[in-house]
């Protein structure tokens, strides 16, 4: 199978990237050292090519009512253009089809960014749900997407933005500015300050090289994964999928129950689960002994067995951390993980391990 490549593929090769297959795309895993890239994002500024993710524009007089039906979070919360919202998109059974960010650009103009692996099925689902509504659903594969993250990301990026978009300096988190070609949002997937920038593919390489010259270090998907794990952010397909609901994925806060008459796909199933009790929950785990929790690691609780959904070594904390799905009835602070034949104690914590470079676990 031929892997798809992004507009930055040549730049990655020049930078010595180790390229791997990610959801059918040939993407950089790292450029020499995943750990160094991780630490650079926590301490200075790193950049990620995430052009494999798909921008989808939803426009038309029916856009708002369509998205209020499509998404578990409520775009009616977006009152002023430029606001962004994180949401799950569910199937009728309440299972998570994808998680995404939706940008509100105008009453009839919304922009979604969805995951690479689910992009095609997402668009098909959206078109099915849209049916005869007055909306157009337009994937924008011609746009590149670059995330610049870290405490120095904003200051290093600003001078390279189109002049009219340098107001991005004042953007609050989950806000965006745009022109007819670029969109700059104060969002990310690392727990650090920074921007996610959508821009025309043909401008991506010169922008990337400009960032590099400004001291922003290229970082691969390896560092992106350990950064998002430390930040306690779920990875679609790993921590949640169509077999799990947002309620069992620590994403209950993203489900907008009010107004109670808003009919969104999956609502009835979620209400049933909420009434019956959610059987499982997603928690954070910290292993203080030597070893690394990995996806699939079994976790024993007094209320039954659980499993690590994603785990890794935390470069910031120097120990292994993980997200794990365990029985909701488990209340113990210390559980047991089975690691390479050994039973090791793990501590249950709120699944936010690091924010803005600092430990959030006591």
């Amino acid at each position: 199978m031929n892997l798809k490549i992004t507009p930055l593929h040549a730049a990655h090769q020049r930078a010595g990237a180790r390229l791997v297959d990610f959801a059918g795309w040939e993407m950089p895993l790292h450029y020499g050292s995943q750990l160094e890239e991780h630490k650079t994002v926590r301490a200075a500024a790193g950049m990620f090519d995430v052009s494999h993710m798909r921008v989808v524009d939803v426009r038309g007089p029916g856009a708002r009512s369509f998205l209020r039906h499509l998404l578990a979070n409520d775009v009616a919360k977006l009152q002023t253009p430029g606001r962004a919202l994180y949401s799950c998109m569910l199937n009728a059974a309440g299972g998570v089809l994808d998680d995404l960010i939706v940008y509100f650009r105008g009453e009839e103009d919304y922009r979604l960014v969805v995951n690479a692996a689910t992009a095609e099925s997402d668009v098909a689902h959206m078109r099915t749900v849209a049916a005869t509504r007055a909306v157009t659903i337009a994937p924008r594969p011609e746009l590149a997407l670059i995330a610049v993250q870290g405490p120095e990301a904003v200051e290093r990026t600003l001078p390279l933005l189109p002049e009219a978009l340098r107001t991005a300096a004042e953007l609050k988190p989950f806000h965006a500015v745009w022109n007819d070609a670029w969109l700059v949002a104060r969002t990310g997937y690392t727990g650090e300050d920074g921007f996610e920038i959508m821009l025309p593919a043909e401008q991506a390489e010169s922008f990337w090289e400009g960032l590099r010259a400004a001291g922003v270090r290229p970082a691969g998907l390896g560092a992106r994964d350990t950064l998002r794990l430390e930040a306690g952010m779920n990875l679609y397909g790993t921590d949640m999928d169509t077999t799990t609901t947002p309620l069992a994925s620590n994403l209950g806060w993203t489900v907008a129950w009010e107004p109670s008459d808003r009919d969104f796909v999956g609502r009835a199933a979620l209400e049933r689960q909420r009434a019956a009790g959610v059987p499982e929950k997603l928690v954070g785990l910290v292993l203080t002994e030597r070893g690394v929790l990995r996806g699939g690691t079994r976790v024993q609780t007094a209320a039954g067995e659980g499993v690590v959904t994603s785990g890794s070594f935390s470069p910031t904390l120097g120990v292994s951390v993980a997200l794990a799905r365990i029985p909701s009835a488990s209340t113990a602070e210390i559980l047991t993980a089975e690691l390479r034949g050994k039973a090791l104690p793990v501590r249950v914590v709120k699944p936010v391990f690091v924010r803005h470079g600092r430990s959030k676990i006591s």
Binding site: S33, Q34, L35, G222, R290, G291, V292, R294, F313, R340
Partner: protein
């Protein structure tokens, strides 16, 4: 391209072996192996003084990506371990053939060293695996 020094011997499981003047052998993992694993975060070495059999798992190297066993290339007694790696596992990535050595064995059957691959044979094996 990974480095494969000519003066070392190699095992199929990607350990390298260096024969020391006193007849002991120093063991580490190859540049190719460390590059496949990525950044190491933990190294578990055997106890000094323990007896190992050729082919026996006697150390663990764990990277951000995966944990991997390290096998004794020859039988004998572990006479030294690289204590520095407990705090600085990155030495294996930075200097796999030198500062990143793992442990030293006094072989009970020096003939086992001869059965290991030379650099060219190892490089050929790696090339055929990729």
């Amino acid at each position: 391209m990974s480095d494969t020094p000519q003066h070392l011997k190699y095992s199929k499981s990607h350990e390298w072996v260096r024969v020391e003047p006193d007849g002991s052998v120093t063991v580490g993992i190859t540049d190719h192996a460390q590059s496949l694993l990525g950044d190491l975060v933990f190294v578990e070495t055997p106890e000094s003084g323990s007896a190992v059999d050729a082919g026996q798992s006697c150390a663990t190297v764990e990277s951000v990506k995966a944990a991997s066993d390290v096998y004794a290339p020859v039988s004998g007694e572990v006479v030294a371990v690289n204590e520095e790696l407990a705090d600085s596992p990155e030495r294996v990535n930075e200097s796999p053939f030198d500062e990143g050595w793992l442990f030293r064995i006094q072989p009970s059957d020096p003939g086992q060293i001869e059965a290991l691959m030379d650099a060219d044979a190892y490089a050929e094996m790696v090339a055929s695996e990729s």
